[in-house]
């Protein structure tokens, strides 16, 4: 028997995880919710901004689209958590690890499959929401076009949010190994740091700049907030959250008995 090369083995694992991913219904339900909810919400949010006559235009013409994307984060987080927790709760993880004893490679394969799908879904939602929101704002002469400098980059960056939350969920699912606990932890990690916004200035900005959601808004804004990190640094903060969680998962996954 010839020994397959490393790239071949990596492709084998990717194919295997892709088959697992697309062969359960929860994948499709989660994706459907993750795509349809923000799209539906985006138009409503845009109307809300324009119909509040005493408030004037939204502070940032891209904000309604970004806010609506945040309505998808629970659905993709659940999808991420389930990728591992469903295997741990059924015992299937032992089948997976006997077929592929290099556990970090399994983690990486799951991350690539989930990351690619949620990135595609996130970008799809970001652009559909953008067009819907701008269509509404345009009726009040508040819209911006994709061609305007900085807009396309901000919309692309907004699309990252779903992938970031899904990977965070994947990592915490691998660390916590229970579905309910994994979902609770993921949602908490995403939302709880948001209390920084309630702190008095300048601490709201000094701490808020490290939160996942503020970083996500900062990278997706046409007019970034001045009390937070620059969009470039915020992008690093945004990516650091799932990266740190995945690193923790990579350490624990090989240390613990399956």
């Amino acid at each position: 028997m010839s020994t397959p090369s490393l790239p071949v083995r990596a492709l084998d694992l990717l194919a295997s995880e892709w088959t697992k991913f697309r062969s359960v219904r929860s994948t499709y339900w989660s994706l459907l919710v993750a795509v349809l909810t923000p799209v539906a919400v985006s138009a409503v949010v845009a109307f809300a901004f324009t119909s509040a006559r005493n408030q004037g235009p939204p502070p940032d013409p891209l904000l309604p689209g970004v806010i609506s994307l945040e309505y998808a984060l629970i659905a993709v987080s659940v999808m991420g958590v389930l990728a591992f927790s469903a295997e741990y709760s059924t015992g299937l993880i032992r089948v997976t690890f006997t077929a592929a004893p290099r556990r970090r490679a399994v983690l990486a394969a799951k991350a690539v499959v989930l990351g690619a799908v949620t990135l595609a879904a996130g970008e799809l939602v970001a652009f559909i929401s953008f067009w819907l929101v701008q269509a509404v704002l345009a009726r009040h002469r508040q819209g911006v076009s994709l061609g305007r400098p900085g807009v396309a980059g901000a919309v692309l960056s907004a699309g990252l949010l779903l992938c970031v939350c899904a990977l965070l969920g994947l990592a915490l699912g691998a660390v916590i190994r229970h579905t309910a606990g994994g979902i609770a932890a993921t949602v908490a990690v995403i939302l709880v740091p948001g209390i920084a916004a309630l702190l008095p200035a300048p601490w709201n900005g000094r701490l808020g700049r490290f939160t996942l959601l503020d970083a996500a808004r900062q990278v997706s804004a046409l007019h970034p907030a001045t009390n937070l990190f620059s969009p470039g640094w915020s992008l690093l903060v945004l990516l650091a959250w799932p990266a740190a969680a995945l690193a923790a998962a990579a350490v624990l996954i090989t240390r613990r008995d399956a």
């Binding site: 397959p4 359960v24 015992g91 032992r94 690890f97 077929a99």
Partner: protein, 311 residues
């Protein structure tokens, strides 16, 4: 192609596994060889599953090691082609079809879709291949687990309590299946807590209790030793009888309660001997220990020893 020495051999070497204060496996060593069915026997909680998990690289040993073909399991490149295993047949995603389950496993080890179809046919599951496993009976799940173990056509196979949940027809099928695998020269390790089950399936037995090795011997040898027959004799003139029996070629073991246990002479010969000398006999009972008794003796002793060793 040259077969390296140790091909298909499972080697457990001074293996210990502790979970906190609990010692599940305690300095266990044994070797499983190809070409025969090896029964891995012990009462529930004896450490069988833990041992198998360590062999499969799922649990890290506290000390010692377990090797397949002289290698640690996590060093195997495409493990399903070298070791097939069934740990828990119910470990399935209820929403996934049988075929998708097997196909995802096959892909991870570079195994073809054609082979998936083959193992489905081999286990009689081709008719339900596209059904979600949530609706499967335990017996069907066991068959699916066996199909998964056979995916890589591996020379080494391990099954943890595979008979649980099977109907009599399934049990009959699986016994024949294990024998066939062994006859093909494969290494087959089957765990069970039932001696009666293993007596009919295994050629060789590895018996453990409380994580320790109790016996490692051919099944035939255990059967032979347990098939020892004796006769229990009670008589008011026991001492006289003992002399007569010894003179007649029998062996006498006096019991605490005054009874005699006789081997080497059957009940009829002893009765005739007593009658010829006019000695009254109050009891004359031919006894035969079963294989189950031999097993209980072994595992019971380990429990007693352990209880006695407690501070």
């Amino acid at each position: 192609m040259h077969q390296p020495s140790g091909a298909g051999v499972i080697e457990v070497d001074r293996l210990s596994k502790r979970f906190g204060p609990v010692t599940a496996v305690d300095d266990l060593s044994f070797v499983v060889r190809p070409g025969r069915v090896t029964g891995f026997l012990g009462p529930n909680g004896a450490g069988k599953t833990t041992t198998i998990r360590v062999i499969l690289g799922l649990d890290a040993p506290t000390s010692g090691r377990a090797l397949v073909d002289g290698q640690r399991y996590d060093g195997l490149i495409r493990p399903l082609r070298q070791v097939g295993s069934l740990l828990d047949a119910t470990a399935l995603h209820a929403g996934r079809t049988a075929r998708a389950h097997l196909w995802s496993m096959a892909q991870s080890n570079g195994i073809s879709a054609h082979r998936v179809t083959e193992v489905l046919r081999l286990t009689g599951l081709e008719g339900v291949a596209r059904r979600r496993t949530g609706g499967f009976s335990l017996g069907m799940k066991q068959r699916l687990g066996i199909a998964a173990a056979m995916l890589g056509d591996p020379p080494v196979l391990m099954f943890d309590e595979p008979v649980n949940g099977l109907d009599p027809e399934g049990i009959h099928w699986i016994r024949g299946f294990f024998r066939e695998l062994a006859a093909e020269g494969r290494t087959v390790l089957v765990s069970s807590h039932l001696m009666s089950e293993m007596a009919q399936t295994a050629d060789h037995l590895v018996i453990i209790g409380r994580g320790r090795l109790l016996a490692d011997l051919p099944t035939a040898e255990l059967i032979e030793s347990s098939a020892r027959r004796d006769v229990l004799l009670r008589s008011p003139r026991a001492a006289e009888m003992a002399g007569l029996i010894a003179a007649g070629g029998g062996t006498v073991t006096p019991q605490d309660d005054g009874a005699l246990v006789v081997t080497g002479l059957d009940a009829a010969a002893i009765g005739d001997l007593a009658a010829a000398h006019g000695i009254a006999v109050h009891a004359l009972v031919p006894r035969q220990a079963s294989l189950e008794d031999a097993y209980l003796d072994l595992t019971g002793e380990s429990a007693e020893f352990r209880a006695g060793a407690m501070p």
